[in-house]
C-alpha cells in the first residue's frame, strides 16, 4: 500500500514521515506537492508536521487554501484515510475536516518532550493494532497544541467516541501534570465523525525506531496498513519491541 505525504512550503517532518513509513513499516511512500492535486493513488494521506507557509496568520491558516488540500478534502469525503500530525492536525482544524482549534500552549512556550498518551478507542483505522487503554510513549514538539472546543462540541466528541488519544501519566492515569499543553479533556488526538480523518499532536514518526527511544508510533502506522488491507492484525515485531 501507499502513503502519500503532503509537502507544503515549510513542512519539516515530511521526510521523517516518509522514512518511517518506508523503513519502519516497509510500505511505499510518495511526496505530494502542495500545488498539485494528484494524490498519486495513495491509500492514506499524511499531513506532516512543520510550519506550513511559515504558520503566518495562524498555524495551518494558509495551508488550508493549497490546491492539494482540496484534493485531500475530496479524498476524505469519499472515505479516504487522512492522518494529520502536529502541524497537520492544525491544518485539519483550519480546513474544517476536524472540529475545534488550537491555542498556544498553557506555558506560552514551544515544548518538545516525550509524552504518554492513552488510546481511548481502538475501533478506528488508526488504532486497531492497540489494546484497549494502551499507553504509548511518543514525543510532542509544538507551540500551539492546546486543544480547544466549546462545551457542546467537546461533549459531542466524547459521546461519539471521537477522542482517540489523551495525554496521561505513564500509568495511564489522567492528570493535569501529565497534560503538556493544557488541552481540553487532555485531548492529544481526535477523529471526524466518520472515523477516517485523525489529527494528533504527538509525532508517531519520531517513535518508530528503538534507536531513537520508542517504537510505539509504529502501532499507528501499522493500524493504517491493517485497515487498508481490511484485516486486523497485530503489528509485526511489536511483541519483541515491547
Amino acid at each position: 500500500m501507499k502513503f502519500g505525504v503532503v509537502v507544503f512550503p515549510g513542512s519539516n517532518c515530511d521526510h521523517d514521515a516518509f522514512y518511517a513509513v518506508e523503513h519502519a513499516l516497509g510500505q511505499q511512500a510518495a511526496f505530494l506537492w502542495h500545488q498539485s492535486t494528484d494524490l498519486q493513488q495513495s491509500d492514506v494521506i499524511i499531513l506532516p508536521g512543520g510550519f506550513a507557509y511559515g504558520d503566518y496568520l495562524r498555524t495551518g491558516a494558509i495551508a488550508r487554501f493549497a490546491p492539494m488540500m482540496s484534493a485531500v478534502r475530496d479524498f476524505a469525503e469519499r472515505g479516504g484515510l487522512v492522518l494529520g500530525i502536529c502541524n497537520g492536525f492544525q491544518i485539519l482544524l483550519e480546513s474544517g475536516l476536524l472540529k475545534g482549534a488550537m491555542l498556544r500552549n498553557r506555558n506560552l512556550k514551544f515544548v518538545c518532550q516525550p509524552v504518554h498518551i492513552r488510546v481511548e478507542n481502538i475501533e478506528t483505522p488508526f488504532t486497531n493494532a492497540l489494546r484497549p487503554g494502551q499507553v504509548l510513549e511518543i514525543p510532542i514538539a509544538h507551540a500551539e497544541g492546546n486543544y480547544y472546543a466549546d462545551a457542546a462540541t467537546l461533549e459531542q466528541l466524547e459521546t461519539r467516541r471521537q477522542v482517540v488519544f489523551r495525554y496521561c501519566r505513564a500509568s495511564g492515569e489522567l492528570a493535569e501534570d501529565a497534560n503538556p499543553n493544557g488541552s481540553a479533556n487532555f485531548i492529544a488526538g481526535i477523529m471526524n465523525r466518520a472515523g477516517n480523518v485523525l489529527g494528533m499532536m504527538p509525532h508517531p514518526e519520531r517513535a518508530s525506531e528503538a534507536l531513537l527511544g520508542s517504537t510505539d508510533g509504529r502501532y499507528i502506522f501499522q493500524s493504517l496498513v491493517n485497515a487498508v488491507a481490511g484485516g486486523r492484525r497485530v503489528a509485526p515485531g511489536m511483541a519483541a519491541a515491547r
Binding site: 523503513h23 508536521g49 510550519f51 511559515g54 503566518y56 512556550k109 509525532h203 534507536l211 531513537l212
Partner: protein, 764 residues
C-alpha cells in the same frame, strides 16, 4: 575640497593610517560608497586583522579534511561518499542589543554557511553565556560586588536568546541537539551566543563560494534588501560597547524569517544539484559587499553588479545602504550562462525572488554600477587578502587572583559535603538545562540518538549507518586563571565528551570570544589560548577546519573572561554501538578510567579553578590543571575501545564539579543509585570535587572486569574500581567511613528544578 573628512573616516571605524592605505590602493579619494565598503571589509569581524597571524598556528590539516579554513565552513570526509560540513559562529553583541532577534539571526547565519556549501543542516548546538540569573549567595569569601550584577536583566536576556533560537531553529526544521549554558559575572552586559551547525552532503554535491567564467550571470535570491543591519559587522561586532549603546544600536540588528530560510535551503540545494550553478555565497556580515568581493577573490575573477536590479524592500535606498545592508535570508549565486532559466525555475517553484543583478568579469575587481554609471570600483584583493594585518603588542596580564588559596579551608564533615554536592547540582551552570532545551525541537529529522543532557550529542546518518557525535565546550573560569592551560583543558574535554559516546574525534571548529585586542593583556590571552589550543589539537590529532573570532566583548571597559569555545565532531562507524551517561543496570561495577587523581601538581592550587571554588567558596585562585595530552589521548582511545567491544554499560566525562557531580549525573540519568568508597588518603573534598582531566566514569559488568583490566594495561593508563550501581541512593564513604547518602530522587529534585526556579519563580 575633499569629500571625505577625517571625522567621516573615524565614524567608519577606520584609522587615519588605514585611510592613507585606501588612498594609496585606489590612487584617488574614495567615494562615500567605497569608504563604506572598506569600512566593513576591513573591520575586525570581516578581516581578522588582529588575529590572522596567530590563527595560522592552529593545525588545520589531516587526511580526512576536505576543506579547511577560508570557506564558509570546514568539510571532513566521512567515507561512503559522504562528508560533513560544520562551523561555529558568534552573535554576541546583537544578542545583547536585541536578544530574541540577535540569537535568531545568529542561528540563521550559521545555517546559511552550511547549506552554502551544498550540505543539508542536520544539527545545531549553542554555547551560551550570561551574567548571573540569581543574586550571589552568601559565601565565605564573597568577592566585592560592584553592584553591576543585574539578575533580572540577565534573565530577560536569557529568555530572549532561548526564544530566538527556538523560533528560528524549530521552524527551519533543524534539531537543536545540545550545547552549554554557563553563568558568570563577566558576561553581565556582554552575553555570549555562539551557534554551532553541522550538515551533511554527498561529496560530489559539495560547493565552494567561488565565482568563475567571465560573462556568467550573478543571481541574487531570497529576501529583498532593506535598511536593517547596516554596519552590523563594523559597528556591532568590531567595537566595544558602552551601557547606553544597547538602545541606540538596536537598528543595527537584523530581523530573521526562518520560513524564508527554509525555502531558501530547499531551493538552493535543488538548484545546486541541477548543475546549472557554479558557485554560491550567502550574504551574511557585510551583506552584498562581502559576498561579491569574496566570491570574486576566491575565483580569481571580478564581479560587476547593478544597484538598480537589486530587489529592495523600501524605496529611496542609496547604493551605500544596499551594499552594506545585512538583511537576512539572501544568497548570491553564479550560474552557467545559458542555464539561468533552470535556476529561476527552481526558485519560482519555491516562491522566491531570483534576479540577475550582474555578471562575472575578468578584471579582479568589485565594480558597482548605478543606472549604468560606475559608483565604486575596488580591487578584490584590497578588500580580502591584502586587507590590513596587525601584529599588535601583547603583554602578560597581571594575575588578579592569588596563586594560593586565600581562605582557610576548614575540614568539612560528610553531611556538609553532601550539602555541597546538592548546592553544586542546583548551581545554574551545572543544573539541568531542561527548561531551555525543551523549547527547542531536539528530534526533528528523526536522527537524534543522544540529545541534550548527555556528554556529546549523537546524530545518526540514515544514509550510511554511521553517527556523528558533537560537543561544544568552553571555560572562561579556567582561561581567566591561565589561558593556555584553560585552552588545553577545553579541547581535551570536548574531545573526551565525544569519545565518551564511542566516537572518534575527526575535526573541530572554534569560536574565540575575547575583549578588545588593542589592549596588550587581552591580546596576550588570545595568543596564549591559540597556543594551548594548537598543542591540544596537535596531540589529540584534531584538525581545526574553521571558526570565528569575536573580539571587543567589552562593555564600559570591562572585558569578558577569555572564553574560547571549541566544537569537536566525532565519527561513530555504527550508530548503535554507543554509550550513554546513565547507570542503566543494578550491580554494575563503577570505574574511573584514567584514575581519580591524574595531576602531578599541587592539588590545592588547581582546586582554585574548580566550579566548587566558585560556587561553594565564592572565590577562585591558582591555575587549572596542566592536562597531560598524551595520557588524555590514551584514556580516550581506551574508552572508545571499551565501548566498541560492548564492555561499557555507561560512560560519562568528568568535568565541572568533578567526580561527585559526575556520579550524581550518572545516577539521575539512569535512575540507579550507587555505593562508592573513596579509598585514598587526603581531603575527601578534593577527591569529590577537584576537576582533574583525563577521567571517564564508566559502569561495567563484574564478569568483564578482567577484560577491562587487560585493555587498560594495553593502553598504558590507570583505572580504579570505586563501587557498585544499585539501590535508590548515592552513598559515599571515604576509606570505609560514611560521608553521605542522598536519594536519587533528592538529587533530581535539586538538579531538575534549579534553573526553572531561577527563571520562573522570580518576578521580573
Amino acid at each position: 575640497m575633499p569629500l571625505i573628512s577625517p571625522e567621516l573616516v573615524e565614524q567608519h571605524n577606520l584609522t587615519p593610517e588605514e585611510y592613507q592605505r585606501i588612498l594609496k590602493t585606489l590612487g584617488r579619494e574614495p567615494t562615500l560608497t567605497e569608504l563604506g565598503i572598506f569600512s566593513v571589509m576591513w573591520s575586525e569581524h570581516c578581516s581578522y586583522k588582529s588575529s590572522r597571524i596567530y590563527l595560522k598556528r592552529l593545525p588545520t590539516q589531516a587526511p580526512q579534511v576536505l576543506q579547511g579554513p577560508g570557506e564558509n565552513a570546514g568539510v571532513v570526509d566521512l567515507g561512503h561518499g559522504w562528508a560533513c560540513v560544520f562551523k561555529i559562529e558568534s552573535h554576541n553583541h546583537p544578542s545583547f542589543v536585541e536578544p530574541f532577534q540577535g540569537a535568531a539571526t545568529g542561528v540563521g547565519g550559521i545555517l546559511r554557511d552550511i547549506f552554502t556549501m551544498g550540505a543539508r543542516p542536520i544539527a545545531v548546538m549553542d554555547s551560551l553565556r550570561f551574567g548571573p540569573i540569581v543574586s550571589p549567595p552568601n559565601t565565605p569569601a564573597a568577592p566585592a560586588t560592584d553592584g553591576a550584577v543585574n539578575p533580572a536583566l540577565n534573565r530577560r536576556i536569557l529568555r530572549g536568546v532561548v526564544g530566538g533560537i527556538s523560533f528560528y531553529g524549530n521552524c527551519f526544521g533543524v534539531p537543536t541537539v545540545g550545547g552549554e549554558t554557563v553563568f558568570g559575572a563577566s558576561y553581565q552586559n556582554n552575553p555570549l551566543v555562539n551557534v554551532f551547525a553541522l550538515g551533511v552532503a554527498r561529496k560530489e554535491h559539495l560547493f565552494l563560494a567561488r565565482a568563475k567564467g567571465a560573462g556568467n550571470p550573478v543571481i541574487y535570491v531570497g529576501a529583498k534588501t532593506g535598511r536593517d543591519g547596516i554596519h552590523g559587522a563594523s559597528l556591532l561586532a568590531s567595537s566595544e560597547f558602552s551601557g547606553a549603546d544597547g538602545q541606540q544600536k538596536r537598528p543595527n540588528v537584523q530581523v530573521g524569517d526562518p520560513f524564508l530560510e527554509k525555502l531558501l535551503l530547499e531551493a538552493c540545494l535543488e538548484a545546486m544539484h541541477s548543475g546549472a550553478v557554479l558557485g554560491v555565497q550567502d550574504m551574511g556580515a557585510a551583506g552584498l559587499t562581502c559576498s561579491t568581493c569574496e566570491m570574486g577573490a576566491r575565483g580569481g575573477v571580478g564581479i560587476e553588479i547593478e544597484m538598480e536590479r537589486v530587489p529592495q524592500r523600501e524605496t529611496g535606498m542609496t547604493a551605500y545602504e544596499i551594499l552594506l545592508s545585512e538583511s537576512q535570508e539572501r544568497m548570491l549565486l553564479v550560474a552557467q550562462r545559458g542555464r539561468e532559466q533552470e535556476v529561476f525555475q527552481v526558485f519560482r517553484k519555491w516562491g522566491l525572488d531570483a534576479v540577475e543583478i550582474g555578471q562575472v568579469i575578468e578584471e579582479p575587481v568589485l565594480r558597482v554600477r548605478q543606472g549604468g554609471e560606475v559608483i565604486a570600483e575596488i580591487p578584490n584583493a584590497a578588500l580580502t587578502e591584502q586587507a590590513p594585518v596587525y601584529e599588535r603588542p601583547w603583554a602578560p596580564r597581571l594575575r588578579s587572583a592569588p596563586m594560593e588559596c586565600p581562605i582557610p579551608l576548614e575540614k568539612r564533615n560528610g553531611a556538609e559535603l553532601g550539602e555541597d554536592l546538592l548546592r553544586l547540582l542546583s548551581d545554574p551552570s551545572i543544573a539541568s538545562k531542561r527548561w531551555i532545551y525543551e523549547q527547542y525541537d531536539t528530534m526533528v529529522r528523526t536522527n537524534t540518538v543522544i540529545g541534550p543532557g548527555g556528554d556529546a550529542a549523537l546524530v545518526r546518518l540514515k544514509e550510511t549507518g554511521q553517527a556523528l557525535a558533537m560537543s561544544v565546550d568552553g571555560n572562561g573560569r579556567y582561561c581567566l586563571l591561565d589561558p593556555r592551560r584553560g585552552a588545553r583543558m577545553i579541547v581535551a574535554e570536548a574531545a573526551r565528551n565525544v569519545s565518551a559516546t564511542g566516537a572518534v574525534p575527526i575535526g573541530a571548529t572554534n569560536c574565540l570570544n575575547f575583549g578588545n585586542p588593542e589592549r596588550p593583556s587581552i591580546l596576550w590571552q588570545f595568543v596564549e589560548v591559540i597556543e594551548g589550543m594548537a598543542e591540544a589539537c596537535r596531540t589529540l590529532d584534531i584538525p581545526i577546519t574553521g571558526g570565528n573570532v569575536s573580539f571587543y566583548n567589552e562593555t564600559d571597559g570591562r572585558a569578558i573572561d577569555p572564553t574560547p569555545v571549541v566544537g569537536v565532531v566525532g565519527l561513530l562507524q555504527k550508530s548503535d554501538c554507543l554509550a550513554r551517561i546513565g547507570f542503566r543496570q543494578e550491580g554494575r561495577r563503577i570505574i574511573v578510567l584514567g584514575g581519580v587523581v591524574t595531576i602531578r601538581e599541587d592539588p590545592l592550587i588547581c582546586f582554585g579553578s574548580s566550579q566548587y571554588a566558585q560556587t561553594i567558596l565564592g572565590t577562585s585562585w591558582g591555575i587549572p590543571p596542566w592536562v597531560d595530552l598524551e595520557y588524555e589521548k590514551r584514556v580516550q582511545a581506551c574508552c572508545r575501545r571499551l565501548i566498541a567491544e560492548a564492555l561499557a554499560d555507561s560512560a560519562h566525562d568528568l568535568s565541572d564539579g568533578g567526580l561527585a557531580v559526575a556520579l550524581a549525573e550518572s545516577c539521575m540519568a539512569g535512575g540507579q543509585g550507587a555505593t562508592i568508597d573513596l579509598n585514598w588518603n587526603g581531603d575527601p573534598r578534593l577527591l569529590l570535587f577537584a576537576e582533574d582531566p583525563s577521567r571517564i566514569l564508566m559502569s561495567v559488568a563484574e564478569m568483564d572486569l578482567v577484560k577491562v583490566d587487560r585493555l587498560v594495561s594495553e593502553y598504558n593508563i590507570r583505572a580504579v574500581v570505586l563501587g557498585t550501581t544499585g539501590s535508590a541512593a548515592l552513598s559515599l564513604s571515604h576509606q570505609g567511613e560514611a560521608l553521605f547518602k542522598i536519594p536519587v530522587s533528592a538529587l533530581r529534585s535539586r538538579y531538575e528544578t534549579a534553573l526553572e526556579q531561577a527563571l520562573e519563580a522570580v518576578s521580573s
